[in-house]
């Protein structure tokens, strides 16, 4: 262990090796400046033409090879790429930061189309766990069912599953919309922070457990409410938004959204700053 007495300039934690450098000033984040728009370059993006279409058979490719190939096709200007024979492979179509029409003719395994920012994705099959995790923008439509952790930690965009989804859908969600045509499993909206989740069917136990913020709409039965999740009245704005969103999601024709249950955070569990010490104790 470092000598804490003689190492005055470092914090105690740094002296114990918990930080390798002293952090100061700004981070390396780059911010968009409209005055420099012509010179602005978003790393990892390409100019693509949506009318330029190609097919890619990934039957004999592993996920790294397939993803590399998708990137190469984008760099050649292809704006519509159809993936044949995905056959449940993991991590296909991840990290795409482009506008792109990406169509999977089959099912994906775990972490499909994760960390994307912009593409329009259609999966003519099922997806495994953690589909579209960390999605920033774009639209993803799953024609069949999805596994657990659907849309984990998404920050934006529309994520649609026409079938049913597994447990912990929208866990840690920070924005965007998750729309499910069928049922959802336990812990839907677990620790969600922002954004909206729409489930037209039933949901399992502990709905919205420990949610900080955001809104969940449920069309069917609710297994049970999680800690700090409470029912709230539906407003005209909610109904208008739901009708608009279901149209975009291509599901729920003639579904009566006014009868859905709206669930929000009670804000007693996590928002400690607004509470007196005795109230905090009660909330815990």
């Amino acid at each position: 262990m470092a000598n804490l007495k003689t190492d005055q300039k470092k914090t105690k934690a740094q002296s114990m090796g918990m930080h390798t450098e002293v952090l100061k000033g700004k981070t390396q984040q780059k911010f968009f400046n409209p005055d420099e728009a012509e010179n602005f370059y978003y790393w990892g993006t390409y100019d693509v033409d949506f009318n330029k279409r190609t097919e890619l058979d990934v039957k004999d490719l592993d996920c790294k090879e397939a993803n590399k190939k998708i990137e190469e096709l984008m760099s050649e200007g292809f704006g519509t790429i159809v993936i044949k024979n995905p056959q449940g492979k993991h991590s296909l179509g991840v990290g795409i930061l482009n506008k792109l029409n990406l169509i999977f003719e089959g099912s994906l395994g775990y972490f499909g189309v994760g960390s994307i920012d912009g593409p329009m994705v259609r999966v003519n099959g099922r997806v495994g766990w953690s589909c579209a995790e960390n999605m920033m923008a774009g639209k993803v439509v799953i024609e069949k069912n999805a596994g657990s952790c659907f849309g984990a930690a998404i920050r934006g965009g529309d994520l649609v599953c026409k079938g049913s989804v597994g447990a912990r859908t929208g866990i840690d969600q920070k924005g965007g919309s998750i729309i499910v045509g069928g049922d959802a499993g336990a812990f839907t909206g677990f620790m969600m922070q922002r954004g909206r989740i729409v489930i037209l069917g039933d949901v399992g136990i502990n709905l919205g457990d420990s949610m900080y913020d955001g809104t969940i709409y449920v069309g069917g039965k609710i297994g049970s409410f999680g800690s700090d999740a409470i029912e709230a009245p539906m407003t005209k704005n909610d109904i208008d938004w739901l009708n608009r969103k279901l149209k975009v999601a291509e599901i729920g024709d003639n579904f009566d959204v006014s009868k859905m249950t709206k669930v929000v955070a009670g804000k007693k569990l996590w928002n400690y700053d607004a509470l007196e010490p005795t109230e905090k104790k009660g909330a815990i």
Binding site: Q87, G106, S107, N145, A167, A186, G204
Partner: protein
């Protein structure tokens, strides 16, 4: 992590050995330490098939102690002597590896007394007893174990298997899955997850006369179900009771001579993908396991939290 796979053909037999090998090999990345198969094969149903081991595989990665082959032979002779004392007749015997055997035996008395007597020989463990169950487990991936025991030609109606990543007990055959549902013929279990009330349950079940051969938490599921069935519960009733009786995270499969079941804990913390049609049910920890035998586009789904399902052949 571990990977589990299972399938059942309804109304017909198929090459379940090869099919399960493909499914488990696709899950190799989830568990490279050992692989196990419980295959429900086409046997004549007249005699019991007993698979047992007299020592451990001490190959690469094993945590077992090396023993001389003559020690194995000595234990085998003691097993034969005990069988004779029990009134059992050996119809056919096969030495599969230096440490494991497959016997066909005639026996019509209590299986618990039988098992206790056989397993009274040091290091001897009955891997399975049944009239259709063939339970094989060893170190290595699915292909290696399949080749070692010639499983690729096994015809049968159903089977379950396990690719193990050792986390809470040693890399050895006794800790490998599937586990036999002692003392019930033709019952086997595979599990993916961790059980947190293992010792409490184990102590209680041992006090009721149930036996544990390993310190692997997954063995508890087999013993838990066996104890429920011993007291008159059906397989499905026992499985439903396990959702509250077992604490932790789990997805497990259980098979009997004519059925296959799955159960998922109430947190749905462990994965499972399921394909179901009129003549076939196939399931595994990941979709790629199912795709290894059904490459065409099919509809699959994840069972929900707290779900129990049982299918008949």
């Amino acid at each position: 992590m571990c990977g589990i796979a299972g399938l059942i053909h309804r109304g017909k037999s198929s090459n379940v050995g090869e099919e399960l090998q493909s499914m488990l090999q696709a899950l190799k990345h989830r568990g490279p330490d050992s692989t196990g198969y419980a295959l429900y094969a086409e046997n004549d149903g007249q005699n019991f098939i007993m698979r047992f081991k007299v020592g451990e595989n001490v190959g690469e990665g094993s945590t077992s102690v090396n023993e001389d082959a003559s020690v194995y032979d000595g234990r085998k002779k003691l097993v034969d002597k005990n069988l004779s004392e029990l009134g059992a007749t050996i119809v056919k015997e096969e030495k599969l590896t230096p440490y494991s055997y497959r016997y066909e035996i005639k026996y019509d008395k209590d299986l618990m007394d039988f098992s206790k007597k056989i397993e009274s020989v040091e290091m001897v463990e009955i891997l399975s007893i049944g009239k259709s169950l063939e339970l094989i487990k060893d170190l290595g991936d699915a292909k290696t174990v399949c080749e070692r025991y010639n499983l690729d030609k096994v015809q049968g109606t159903h089977g379950i298997g396990h690719a193990r990543m050792a986390t809470e007990s040693g890399v050895d055959i006794k800790s490998a899955h599937p586990f036999w549902g002692y003392p019930f013929a033709d019952v086997s279990v595979v599990h993916n997850g961790q059980l947190t009330n293992y010792w409490n349950n184990r102590r209680a079940l041992e006090n009721k006369g149930m036996r544990f051969m390993s310190e692997c938490d997954s063995e508890l599921i087999a013993v838990f179900l066996a104890e429920k069935m011993r007291n008159g519960a059906t397989l499905e009733e026992g499985m439903k009771e396990s959702l509250t009786g077992l604490d932790g995270v789990f997805t497990y499969f259980v098979a009997t001579k004519d059925s296959l079941g799955m159960a998922k804990d109430t947190m749905a913390a462990k994965p499972l993908v399921l394909y179901e049609s009129d003549d076939l049910v196939a399931m595994g920890s990941e979709e790629i396991a199912i795709r290894s035998i059904l490459p065409q586009e099919i509809t699959t789904y994840d069972p929900f939290d707290g779900e129990v399902k049982v299918w008949q052949i």
